[in-house]
């Protein structure tokens, strides 16, 4: 962009720290405006004499910039870098201008100046706090169709993004000895002291430059320098030390248990062309041994009629605009204060050539020196006066001033008002740490009281006002923190010399004169949520006596600024209305985040490929190559079916099932959980974990096992192989792998610690290829060495070790299809090569690969259950027809007692049976419900449900399994499955649909 011509009406030559040599341009509501490097959007707007920047939430009142920091309630803009990088509700006072930035005002239509929503301001008497609870109830139907859509449309500020966020966010876990929150004079002093004493220090500040109040307070001299320069030097000194990490633009947003503090660093949002590799923001998750809280304090506004008019700002903010950004907030600036600090702002403005028509001070006797100085500068001081109302609409134009104790009003024309009701210590982080605040009655403020964690507050946030006292306190805290963490390092003390910075006296919380009870004016407490002093009083009047009720009824403090300006005022007004003292009423709870933080930054890397791991088996790529379609099972991708030549799932599954039963099929079973159970007591241990008996299982033999929880419900199942006397290879379901191992470890470590057994997960050590079907042996035989595959040597449910394709294998003769079959375990890195080799052979024999869907069908044809499908957490082994797997003679196993509870042995339990569709063609829907009488009225008595259901190509009919009340006794009974548009007749049968005798297993 070409260097713009700088015509900025409010930029004061020679003031501020920005350089005219760094011009930039940005747009506001489409209009291009000049700015300087280092400007915030707010300072640049004010430089261009723009105060009107938005509309309020409820009444759509015109609103301007109130502050120069994160406490800003009004100046929220939409910021757009490009189409996909639109962000709503950005505080203009925090967002730095970069060349080309686009800003848009919010919550107005059709334009900022002429906003239809303004009608709400006119009818505002109707829209008092909580009005919606009292109305919109008739007619009943109108709520859904008229009232609620109306309320919703009126609410909300900016517009949510509509594009996927293209930005990166990064995260970082970090540890340190001392974490310092805030880089004002207190934070910097503490950091210097801690760092000099050898501590690992992190200091962060949410602003682009350190210094805090030194940005505006030019009266301060530290170590012979003006305060701001000192801060920059201190920060440079810290940054150069190896044991210190200095973080600017970094907000501490959350203080969690055990000194775990979350910080967000804004990395690139101030750059005009950030590198694509640079994250937009970075989340720091810091664990500190000691935290020093040095978050300063926040100036309060004055609560008077129309105090929300654009052009009315906090006094110290006006001073920041002048002294840091070189921008005057107006040409003719009125001052309204209850506190000394506004005087300095007035003096600075006056000295910069701005007209100050009057300082209105509600105090009768403010500091005489300040008054004298004002007079010396030719500023009129009205003590004991208040601003009864502000005039103007889109911009403040006058202030109506009157004595506090009553008297004539004088209307003073101005184009801006700066105000100060005193300072609120920022106890947010302290409170988040679960510390309890204490009330400082002398100064009407809450300060840190009882600490709950290893932290300490210093400076203005601790209620310390005097500069020298702040520095002393901070140095002490820094030194003590360092020696607390590192008691053995020798102590270095530092000294910092300061001049200026006396305590500012005076405070006003609650409504200012003219807005007291009974006055029907709009004196805003919470700007963004349009909460006025009278709303707070109304809440109390209606019985909302707890401050928490007041908050929720009025929404005071619930806006994006979370009450940084409003909470104390709200509290004071409520307390007055209740006739109670402030601490009796108390504050609402401080919660994270301190200021709103981007979802993306909390997500950081956990998105897209890193949202969750995607687990693939060793054979995955080979399966992709032969056209597999995958399904998600937990984090796994499992081959679901292998369509050929345009087949749909149904056709593919029919072919796969048929081929496997008549010829051979191969299946990737690698995702099954595997646990190696080793040790002299291994058999004993499994005997306790499984319902089945395990002591007598021979070496080289397999056994199907069921596992319950103590409550007797099926938890998992799998096949257990005895590799050696003291070594078992246990399999679990895919999803069950981690929890089964965890449960076994639990019993082993805590209930049976006397047993010498060790558990190792081998789920991923072994790739598993199931080869099933009448030709399975012929297929694998040529590749196997060292194992006799004959039915005699390796019968069903046995295993042997040897090699396949030259690689070691645990070869198991087992079957989940009902066919003769083998499960070939090979070390995972060989899985793909073995799969490829076998697949070639299978293909040559006109066999096929089959996926999980066919696996489900094939096992259902045999009535084998799938835990989690045919059982849920309410099914016992007996219900599932697996009574035979429960060791009757065992004196103990997990679940033995639970199984005997009355309801688990009662009659009428749902039992797993087969179902045939009587029409011979209707495939039931899984999950469909079963009734005895399809003609009964709703609610119907359901007696069971369909857990598995498929078309069986092998049986040439639909097959299903279902859990039905008393099912074992209902064989042959006709039941009904009512669907949305039809009723399907079914008959209960045994859950075996192919090879009922089971001969095929043994080929």
């Amino acid at each position: 962009m070409n260097a713009p011509v700088l015509i900025q009406p409010n930029r004061i030559a020679g003031k501020g720290r920005l350089s005219v040599a760094d011009p930039m341009r940005f747009t506001f509501d489409g209009k291009t405006l000049p700015a300087l490097k280092g400007d915030t959007v707010a300072s640049a707007l004010i430089a261009n004499d723009i105060h009107l920047v938005g509309r309020s939430f409820k009444y759509h009142r015109p609103r301007g910039i109130v502050s120069a920091g994160p406490e800003e309630p009004n100046a929220l803009l939409g910021i757009q870098r490009d189409v996909a990088r639109h962000t709503p509700n950005i505080r203009a006072t925090v967002q730095e201008v970069y060349d080309g930035l686009e800003a848009t005002s919010q919550n107005r239509w059709p334009s900022l100046k002429y906003d239809i929503g303004e009608i709400n301001d006119v009818v505002s008497p109707l829209l008092s706090a909580g009005f919606y609870y009292k109305t919109f109830m008739w007619p009943r139907k109108a709520w859904d169709k008229v009232y609620e859509p109306f309320i919703r449309n009126a609410a909300g500020l900016g517009k949510a993004p509509v594009h996927k966020d293209p930005d990166r966010y990064s995260s970082q876990h970090e540890h340190c000895d001392v974490l310092i929150l805030g880089g004002g004079v207190a934070g910097l002093s503490a950091a210097l002291a801690a760092a000099k004493n050898g501590a690992r220090v992190i200091i962060c500040d949410e602003q682009p430059t350190f210094g805090g109040a030194l940005h505006f307070d030019t009266d301060i001299v530290i170590d012979g320098m003006d305060g701001f320069s000192w801060a920059q030097q201190a920060m440079a000194k810290l940054a150069a030390m190896d044991n210190v990490r200095v973080l600017t633009r970094t907000t501490a947003f959350g203080y969690y248990a055990q000194n775990y503090v979350g910080l967000i660093e804004r990395v690139s949002e101030h750059l005009s062309a950030p590198s694509a590799d640079l994250p937009r923001e970075r989340l720091w998750e810091v664990r500190a041994k000691k935290v020093i809280i040095a978050t300063g304090s926040i100036e309060r506004h004055m609560v008077f009629a129309n105090n929300d008019r654009p052009g009315i700002l906090l006094a110290s903010s006006a001073r920041t605009y002048l002294n840091h950004y070189g921008v005057a907030v107006g040409k003719n600036v009125g001052v309204y204060t209850a506190n000394d600090s506004a005087y300095a702002a007035a003096f600075d403005l006056k000295e910069a050539g701005i007209n100050i028509p009057a300082i209105v001070d509600i105090r009768e006797h403010p500091n005489a020196e300040l008054v004298a100085k004002a007079k010396a500068l030719g500023i009129r001081v009205l003590t004991g006066h208040g601003v009864m109302a502000a005039g103007g609409k889109l911009r403040v134009s006058s202030m109506s001033v009157a004595p506090v104790n009553g008297g004539a009003r004088e209307v003073i024309p101005i184009d801006s008002i700066i105000m100060s009701g005193g300072w609120t210590p920022s106890v947010h982080m302290f409170s988040q740490s679960r510390g309890k605040v204490a009330y400082d009655a002398a100064k009407s403020r809450f300060v840190p009281g009882v600490y709950a964690q290893d932290c300490v507050s210093v400076g203005s946030c601790n209620g310390t006002d005097d500069l020298s006292a702040i520095i002393d306190e901070a140095i002490k805290a820094g030194e003590e923190a360092a020696t607390y963490v590192r008691p053995n390092t020798s102590q270095v003390s530092i000294s910092i010399e300061a001049n200026g910075g006396n305590a500012w006296e005076g405070t006003l919380i609650g409504a200012a004169p003219g807005a007291e009870a009974g006055k029907v004016v709009k004196a805003f407490v919470d700007f963004q949520n349009d909460v006025t002093a009278k709303d707070i009083r109304l809440a109390v009047q209606e019985g909302f006596q707890s401050i928490e009720h007041v908050k929720r009824f009025t929404t005071n403090g619930m806006a994006t600024d979370q009450g940084k300006l409003s909470n104390m005022h709200g509290l004071a007004i409520a307390a007055e209305a209740l006739g109670k003292e402030l601490p009796e009423v108390g504050l609402t709870t401080f919660r994270a985040p301190y200021t709103p933080i981007t979802f993306g930054a909390l997500v950081s890397h956990s998105k897209g490929a890193l949202f969750e791991p995607t687990r693939k088996t060793p054979m995955h790529e080979s399966e992709v190559a032969i056209g597999a379609v995958f399904e998600d099972v937990g984090n796994w991708k499992r081959a679901w079916y292998y369509p050929k030549g345009g087949e749909d799932m149904h056709a593919a599954v029919n072919r796969e099932c048929k081929t496997t039963r008549t010829n051979v099929g191969m299946f990737d079973a690698s995702t099954l959980g595997k646990i190696e159970v080793v040790g002299p007591d291994a058999a004993e241990f499994l005997n306790l974990i499984y319902t089945n008996p395990f002591l007598k299982l021979g070496v080289g033999k397999l056994r199907y096992g069921i596992m319950c929880r103590e409550d007797g419900f099926i938890y998992d199942d799998g096949v257990v192989a005895r590799i050696a006397e003291d070594r078992f290879h246990v399999t679990t379901t895919t999803g069950g792998a981690p929890r089964v191992l965890n449960m076994m470890e639990d019993y082993l470590q805590t209930e049976f610690p006397h047993m010498k057994v060790w558990l190792t997960s081998t789920s991923e050590q072994w790739a598993v290829i199931a080869v099933q079907g009448p030709k399975s042996r012929d297929i694998i035989a040529p590749f196997v060495d060292g194992i006799d595959l004959s039915a005699e040597a390796l019968p069903h449910m046995s295993m042997a070790e040897g090699t396949i394709c030259g690689v070691p294998t645990r070869l198991m003769r087992m079957s989940f299809t009902g066919e003769m079959g083998f499960e070939i375990n090979v070390p995972a890195d060989y899985g793909r090569a073995v799969w490829d080799t076998l697949y070639e052979a299978v293909e040559a024999a006109d066999g096929c690969a089959y996926g999980t869907e066919s696996m489900h069908v094939l096992r259902a044809e045999k009535g084998y259950i799938i835990v989690g499908q045919d059982t849920d957490g309410t099914v016992t082994p007996h219900d599932a027809g697996l009574d035979w797997a429960v060791g009757k003679k065992k004196t103990d196993f997990v679940g033995i007692r639970g199984l005997k509870r009355p309801d688990l042995v009662a009659s009428g339990r749902r039992q797993l049976v087969g179902l045939k569709s009587i029409d011979g063609r209707s495939v039931l829907e899984e999950g469909a419900q079963i009734v005895e009488d399809p003609n009964q009225p709703v609610p119907m008595k359901m007696i069971g449900w369909v857990s598995s259901s498929y078309w069986s190509e092998n049986a040439q009919k639909p097959i299903a399994m279902a859990l039905i009340e008393d099912g074992f006794n209902l064989m042959g009974k006709k039941l009904y499955v009512p669907m949305a548009n039809e009723v399907i007749e079914v008959e209960v049968c045994k859950a075996v649909f192919v090879d009922e005798e089971g001969g095929r297993l043994h080929g």
Binding site: H173, Q258, Y260, E710, N742, E745, D746, T750, P753, T891
Partner: protein, 106 residues
């Protein structure tokens, strides 16, 4: 995220390395079969759910893998101590004193 001292690793580690495993010192009977229905129910379902100092189990599942016990205040979420599985309940009165002293430090 809590910071938990693993008695086996002898170090404080972040909570995400651990899995909470319910109330501690609930022993499984060696005579499960002899339990009454009520006895079983107490063992399996009923919990003290203490407001205040609770004894609970954790597993350093993404660390050393060990189960161990902790005494923790469920109001402040602060740990009083952690100890190895199988060790007896520590003497609480002493622990509370230690905490107060430790607290006084800050």
């Amino acid at each position: 995220m809590l910071l938990i001292h693993c008695p086996y690793c002898a170090e404080e580690r972040p909570e995400t390395e651990f899995a909470h495993a319910g109330e501690a010192h609930i022993e499984r009977s060696t005579e499960m079969n002899a339990l009454t229905d009520e006895g079983f129910s107490k063992f399996f379902f009923y919990r003290d759910n203490t407001k205040g100092t609770t004894f609970e189990r954790w597993r350093h599942i993404h660390g050393c893998g060990r189960y161990f016990n902790a005494a923790r205040d469920t109001v402040s979420d602060k740990f009083l101590t952690t100890y190895k599985a199988g060790e007896p309940k520590p003497d609480l009165s002493k622990l509370v004193d230690d905490q107060t002293n430790a607290g006084a430090k800050s």
